[in-house]
Symmetry: C2
Subunit: 360 residues, 2 copies
């Protein structure tokens, strides 16, 4: 069985008639039906976060992910954020929302993370971003069929060739729900403006608006030979960073809410030849507008396609992404984090209320 969902279209596809992609691309399918997909980020943050502290947290989460109902796959990364804080991050992947819920409600790691003790750790903060979508609200693309990363590390997934790529609007066309839903933001005409909240010393949960667009876009060049490595370092990576700088520097115009450029770490916590960008946009339309019309994206896009055409199956650099269109969610939590972290500047916040049985 190759599982996927398709709806009878009431909204036209963007794919031009007779389109043939300029370069082969691949996407994910499944051996068994999948109802929902979850990617959950858990992180530690600190202005002067020691290596030991970061490693300790990443070891905790590794053990947490190994508990019952933990993720089917995970990765460890780190990055320095725009405020100059170091963040150590783990992302776990589930293809089963019930299993994810069991882990969230029942694991020792979750209890540790939820404990008021975390607020007493004044020298660091923690955050969690849970991206949970029904199957019909995601899409994936890989430049090569052989490298497993992100969602594609979940057992039961299959990387298959496709032709829904190589034109603007292809990402939308790959999201099954787009056949029947425009995936618009309810805040399209009144995007949120950034504000600064007193987030230090507090546990705050953000509620994101319907149809938020979450993107994880990855680059893998481990084992690339000197020629392709040089091209990646001299050309593709600088173009990519220019694009990310543009989005980060023009948040309001582009609908970018948060963008982190993360480096994958190996089991010893050392950097791998692999990065990924975790970015959130108010809507898919915002991401599309940048991708379609801004020179910084066109530069990335053209270079990646040119290298694919040049090297074909000998291409040694893998690029990929996964996109999720997230329904209204309160799965974003910030504990003693600086006020520019994640969604703190943008969306309504709630404080978890510690309830004791028999409180009144």
């Amino acid at each position: 069985m190759v599982f996927h969902i398709e709806y009878p279209r009431v909204i036209a596809a963007r794919k031009p008639a007779g389109h043939a992609p300029a370069a082969p691309r691949y996407t994910l399918r499944w051996d068994e039906p999948v109802g929902a997909l979850v990617s959950e980020y858990r992180a530690i943050q600190g202005k002067d976060l020691s290596q030991a502290r970061q490693s300790h947290f990443l070891e905790l989460i590794r053990r947490g992910f190994a508990e019952s109902h933990g993720p089917s796959a995970y990765e460890i990364m780190n990055f320095r954020d725009e405020a100059g804080y170091t963040n150590g991050v783990a992302v776990g992947y589930w293809a089963d929302a019930t299993s994810h819920a069991r882990w969230s409600l029942g694991s020792d790691f979750s209890a540790w993370f939820a404990s008021d003790d975390r607020l007493a750790e004044t020298e660091c903060g923690y955050w969690r971003e849970t991206i949970l979508v029904p199957y019909d609200r995601h899409e994936t693309i890989y430049s090569a069929p052989g490298y497993r990363i992100g969602l594609s590390r979940i057992p039961g997934s299959v990387i298959v060739p496709m032709t829904t790529n190589g034109y603007f609007g292809a990402a939308r066309d790959r999201i099954p729900l787009s056949a029947i839903d425009r995936l618009e933001s309810p805040l399209k005409d009144s995007p949120p403006r950034a504000s600064r909240v007193a987030s230090l010393g507090r546990r705050l949960r953000a509620t994101t608006p319907h149809n938020l667009c979450a993107l994880r876009s990855g680059q893998f060049w481990e084992g690339a030979g000197p020629e392709q490595l040089r091209d990646y370092m001299d050309n593709l990576q600088p173009k990519l960073m220019r694009g990310m700088d543009y989005l980060t520097g023009h948040k309001a115009e582009t609908g970018t809410l948060s963008l982190r450029i993360m480096t994958n770490l190996d089991h010893e916590g050392k950097p791998r030849a692999e990065t990924s960008v975790l970015a959130y946009f108010l809507s898919l339309e915002h991401l599309e507008a940048w991708a379609k019309s801004h020179e910084t994206h066109l530069d990335i896009y053209r270079h990646a396609i040119a290298m694919n055409r040049k090297y074909k199956e000998k291409r040694e650099v893998v690029t990929w992404h996964e996109v999720f269109i997230v329904p209204t969610s309160s799965g974003f939590e910030y504990v003693n984090c600086h006020p520019d972290t994640g969604f703190l500047p943008y969306f309504p916040l709630t404080c978890p209320h510690s309830v004791k049985a028999g409180e009144i």
Copy 2:
């Protein structure tokens, strides 16, 4: 077009081989594809709630529902809860989650409901329960094809005959996702115990666990002739009330979290010959266990079937229900409500945090 979703089954259907239902039943389909369904309850609550106060609120919500992106259909009801408080309730239905999100974020009514002024109204409380599910997480059943109520009042819905009824497990079989997901509660082995929180004077939001089961079950006997009216009053209604009393009196054993027996009101606020029960169970399995094995449900079930067989298409009493299997949600809010309201006793609570731009 008749829209519905079906998955390739990896979990066997409950339907016995060769099953033919004892009585005809009907369910809902759609003219156009539907991605999600929303039913949202908004209510006023007071110990000595005056008729004027209740009417004023119901008028406010009627006007609110008429704002842009308001529901496609709504109903007005009231009931006395277990604590003896009077509750005036409106339920709105949407077949479009983006439209619902726009109304929730942009309507004057939502702003009024969210205002801190509500906490200053010491003589009454307010609550909101938002049930939002992807299409594949619901099912409906109607005893007759001609009466429109609940979801079936949404334009574009079609009441069609079915044969997925008349056996235990039929409700599950009608939920598309049940073909690939057991719809279990992550709290199956550790159901929540009721506690009392200091809820008066506060705005609290409850987060419900994955796969909560929401049921609205309705009874309509307007225009029934003397014979069928007497049977309803003397037989079916008392059996129904006995069943509801049992669930209310045995919450922990049955997994019942909340159960309200509501009376529909006409446009002048007068009771109609129509009731509906809004009940929440920790999981579908809990509702099924009662339905399958408890004499109070068997009594209701057998009597309804007997009357259907006796009167066939001349049956003048309509019974129906709609079930939603709700993913993890924070769509349940209680403002100055007594501590036994809704999910207040059961689930983790958060307090919306009033953030002012430039707070620090």
